[in-house]
Amino acid sequence: MRKNQWRVAVMFLAPYGILFGIFILLPVLYGFFISLHKWHILAPRPEFIGLRNYKLALADDLFRIAFVRTLFFVAMVVPVGNALSLLLAVGLNQNYRGTTFYKVAFYMPVVMSVAVIAILWTWIYSAEFGLLNYYLSQAAAFGHNLAPSVFPATLKPQWLNSPATAMPAIALMSIWWGAGGNMLIYFAGLKNIPRELLEAAEMDGATPWRRFWTVSWPLLRPTTLFCLVMSVIASFQVFGQTYILTGGGPYYSTLTIILYMYQQGFGLYQLGYASAVGYLLFAALLVFTLIQFKLLAVKQ
């Protein structure tokens, strides 16, 4: 048999290992180091201040707002997005004619850049010229003819310019953008469910609805956990959407944590403070991930 092959292994691992060390491992450690300093990009020497950046952040009203608004975003995108992904996956799994077409159609938004979808939806949400308000006011006018007391004659919400609707609008766009990704994972999970189990349930007279909840859903649990954890991690880091669509406004209603980190770091050059914001998000994500594992992990 072969002996210890460490010489060869070093050769094979060296290119990856060097890059991994410099661009993955080092940034994680260096970021923490930076967060312990008052580190202005132009200052000659960073000043060590211990955990003060963290204390400042926790007492910072804008950081709190950013945290709450990000939570609001996550609370919309994760449940609704995952429900939609699962629903689309169940639809695909019926093996109707044109399954490939549906798969491609549902996944298409995922392959587009956040910049593209953001400028596209800025227009869709435009109060005066947007597609959404056009069809909405058509619907309102139609309803107004039938029941004038219930429906207004025109309906043109300022989607992105009103604090109440800006974040839900961004969440809706993000759900549209991402649903196809988890759909494929749920679809793969559904395909993996043993056919015999579903057929046995069918023989026993279980309705499709019941078959889904008693057979498919419990067996999908690892898939669901995976998708939920991944989408919580991804949605907490929302940046491009809020950066392009609203820049955090109106009245900070769409200020998200990474956007705030970006503004502090690359707008005000407070690199130490911005790094601390990033690490606080990291800590929050660890907690959320652990909670999800506790709640959803498959009992062995």
């Binding site: 890059l19 491992l25 940034p27 159609a105 996944y107 400028i119 596209l120 980190m261 690199l271």
Partner: protein, 283 residues
């Protein structure tokens, strides 16, 4: 009534379900169709009282204008940057990660599994939180506003190593042992046995990497500020900031930015869907 066989189920439920699916597909596609359709409309058909879903006649005037008239907005240069960066990242990342994955799946050395776990555990680190240190490191290397700065930091992701190792482990060891007994070195085995057999996984990873690099927004945004070093996604945002109401031109840049990934997706959609199945289930 309850005893109907599977084949003779009342079709209504299925017809309704298919109707819903079709509707969902149309709603999900509508914004994309709108983008392409607008980019091909003559100016006077863009902002109409009733939305026009199809351009008539089809006009390439916005694309023409983009490539010929907008000097302050070098769309052709952005297109080149995006294409060059994403293809380079794809080729290099595949070479580097497949070598690492080979070592992690096939070579025997002390600490192999510990090292591998250390590598994949970084997949749990949210990528955005390391933006600031990565920015400072790249700046210290003197790579601000450079192709190196745009390419190299993106090569070391753990996801590719994870995916390829998983696939390599599924390749029967006997194939390799035969070559080994014939006197082939690990390098030859990697090149002549493993890589050819791993084509499906390599193809899936190549498409993910390409699409990811092409669409990346945050990193090019912070690591460049020279207008000629921007990539398409960042360029589009700058463009839109200047021409907010020039919907035709903006949608044309958006279309240019989307066409390559959409085409790559359409050609390789089976590989992509299978690749995602590979990653999701092995968790």
């Amino acid at each position: 009534m309850k005893c109907k066989g599977r084949k003779t189920r009342p079709p209504f439920r299925h017809v309704a379900a298919q109707g819903v699916m079709f509707l969902a597909a149309m709603i999900l596609l509508a914004p994309i169709i709108w983008m392409f359709s607008t980019s091909l409309k003559p100016d006077e058909q863009i902002l109409t009282a009733t939305p026009r879903w199809l351009p008539n006649p089809v006009s390439f005037v916005h694309f023409n204008r983009l490539f010929t008239q907008a000097e302050d907005f070098p769309v052709a240069r952005w297109l080149f940057n995006s294409a060059f960066i994403s293809s380079t990242v794809t080729v290099l990342a595949l070479s580097i990660t497949s070598m690492a994955a080979y070592a992690f799946s096939r070579l025997r050395f002390k600490g192999r599994d510990v090292l591998f776990i250390a590598v994949i555990s970084t997949m749990m680190i949210p990528s955005q939180i390391t933006l600031i240190p990565s920015f400072l490191i790249v700046q210290k290397l003197g790579w601000f506003n450079s192709y190196q700065g745009l390419i190299v930091p993106g090569l070391a992701g753990a996801f590719g190593v994870f995916l390829l190792r998983q696939f390599f482990l599924g390749i029967p060891v006997e194939l390799e042992e035969a070559a080994y007994i014939d006197g082939a070195s690990p390098a030859v085995i990697y090149w002549k046995v493993i890589l050819p057999l791993a084509k499906p996984a390599l193809a899936a990873l190549a498409i993910f990497t390409f699409i990811g690099a092409w669409n990346d927004f945050v990193w090019p945004l912070i690591i460049t500020n020279d207008i000629s070093m921007r990539t398409l996604p960042v360029g589009i945002m700058i463009f839109q900031g200047r021409y907010v109401t020039e919907y035709g031109a903006t949608m044309a840049t958006a279309a240019i930015c989307s066409i390559p990934t959409i085409i790559a997706f359409l050609i390789f959609q089976r590989r992509i869907t299978e690749g995602i199945a590979m990653t999701g289930l092995k968790q």
